[in-house]
Amino acid sequence: MKTVISYSLILILLLSACKDSADRPKGTGCFILGGCEDTDYDLDNIYFRLSFYIDGKYLFYQTGTMNKSEISKDYIITVEDVFTLCGRVEYDDSPVYASIRFIPDPRDSMMPSVIVDTDERGAFCTMLKGGRYSILISPYKQDTIPQLVRDVELSEDISDLTISYPKDDIRLIYGSVILDTKSGIPVEGINVVAFRQISNDIILKSNISTTDTNGSFSLVIPDSKADFSLMLSGSQMNPDWPNITFKDIITESVIQLQAISLGSIPPSRQITGNVAMDERAKIIATMKTDSMSYTKSFTTDTGGYFETNLREGTYDIVIAPEDIYNSIWSISQFKDIKIPDTTTYKFSLDRKTTLKGRIISGGNSHTPQIHLSRMSGCRDAGDNIQLDTSILPDSDGYFSTYLSQGMYRIVIDSDDPTGTPIVSNPLCIETDMDLGEIQLPNSAQLNGKIENKLGLPLSDIRLEILLKQKSTQEFVPIISMTINKESFSVPIPNLDGLQ
């Protein structure tokens, strides 16, 4: 009797232990670091991007939005309206070797554009979802052949789309570049290109002509009427020139441009200075005006000393230690630095800040990981330095790291294939920060299937789950999983569980 009771007690204990681990909440519902109440992410919808190869060679994307009320149901992603588009590109009856970009109209910012190469006969083939597309053709021989834009409506298979550069709707423009009007000395090795902004995504460009020993250039513009702007920049032969833009100077009637003088470009000055650190640093100096932008990068020696030439003007300067991850010094910005100045330039960098916190396991035995993405500097100071690093906490869940000041996105996840990450809003980290105790959130499960209505041979099917940032309309991928051809089950943020 005593033995029976003992065994029963052990059995009950075992069962209760199993029940405990199954029912124990893994974390909170909110998956936004800092709370779900005040966030810039759209928490009413989940966005997805499905990608797969058709026939093992055509990469295909399909996107969609799911309201949180739809998540509990089986979700069906239908693959239909997929059409073949084949054709060729010609210029003066000769084939064009080019990259062709298909841009959906209207633009879907979740959808990467499809890029296809022509072969040596100028022929191409791809598979696209039905709809309207802008096609941007970028020839590889960009010194002589301009870009071209065409539109296509795809509602059935097209096997012989011929895209020809028009013979009559094209302009030849000639010009020259001189050092200044007084001397009239021609400048060799300046890249000249004409361009026109057609939409947010498309800038149509002429060929890129490099000035010869006479300073001469010639441009082919694939449009006989519209106004085009002109951009001059340095080339490998003559690199130290700013990008200079002349807005809309190529009008319908222009054939020969007047000699373009570089006399207004400020002269170079030699400068010396010091960054107060005992290691090498990279200096990025940028000067911008309405018509000109000039950026120069150079490095200090191991004692922080530098000596270089910069054109006269007012600069924003970003200094980063060369050993950008391990140095104690932070990426630092200095605004409105005048070149030349009477004093020697002296820069002192800020020290990095400390970011720390603790991840609470909540009974979850999976290994957590902290991903830190620096997106830019905290404020608009021309610092567009992006860095990514990921670290592991110690066995008690504590983590601590040094970071350059800047705008960060923090994502904490684990190797639990059924779990979802906790994501921060973009955070300006300027001073030491303690994120406190963080618990990985509960996840929901999205179950569904792919309905391949056309019976296409699909492979490498991948489903990405994205969050949408409302202010920027940007999409942030948070889950990416390979799924099989028929059905899928992927973890997603538990939007339904949010209060």
Partner: protein, 190 residues
């Protein structure tokens, strides 16, 4: 016919002892042991520990799958591998991504892949977003070629940034796997 020693002599006593089968075995074993220990030059046999096996990136999970990649006016592209194999299951894997290492002698992303919490020789991968507008990168004009590389190592990368190749050198005994892509820039990314 074999000549036996005479009874009562010491030789006979020894002969009788040899007749005892157990004693014969004992002596044979002792001779063998002595012989093997002192007379034969035995090779130095040791139980070898399994040497460090390299991590292997599962090439079928590479994205983009093509080694040549085009980047449009978005100036951004994601690169990833979603699975690695590491036979030494307790090894932490260290990942570094490089862009145009020839010019930027540094890495653009550092990451770790922890030892799996459930014993397994396969584990996850890593991803990297190349943004050609990143001001740390040179060559932002249309037509530029770039190289994206990833190294997965089973030992940490050297902390000493003077050891060549800088930021690529791995601590002694480490093994690694490596992938690279060539990126062609179709539009300006200033």
């Amino acid at each position: 016919m074999t000549k036996l020693p005479q009874e009562g002599t010491s030789s006979m006593l020894f002969y009788r002892l040899l007749q005892n089968i157990y004693l014969r075995y004992t002596i044979a074993m002792a001779v063998l042991i002595l012989n093997s220990t002192y007379c034969v030059d035995l090779p130095d046999i040791r139980v070898l520990e399994a040497s460090n096996r390299p991590p292997v990136i599962d090439k079928s999970t590479l994205l983009p799958s093509s080694p040549i990649v085009k980047i449009d006016s978005s100036c951004k592209r994601d690169f990833s591998f979603s699975q690695t194999t590491e036979l030494d299951i307790d090894d932490v894997l260290y990942v570094r991504w490089y862009v145009d290492y020839e010019y930027v002698k540094n890495y653009q992303k550092s990451s770790v892949i922890p030892a799996p919490s459930k014993k397994s020789i396969t584990r996850g991968g890593d991803s990297f977003t190349l943004d050609l507008r990143n001001s740390i990168l040179p060559n932002k004009s249309r037509g530029s070629l770039h190289t994206v590389e990833v190294i997965v190592s089973d030992r940490p990368f050297m902390i000493d940034s003077t050891v060549s190749p800088v930021f690529k050198a791995i601590e002694e005994g480490g093994n690694y796997d490596y992938i690279s892509w060539t990126v062609m820039q179709l539009e300006d990314c200033y």
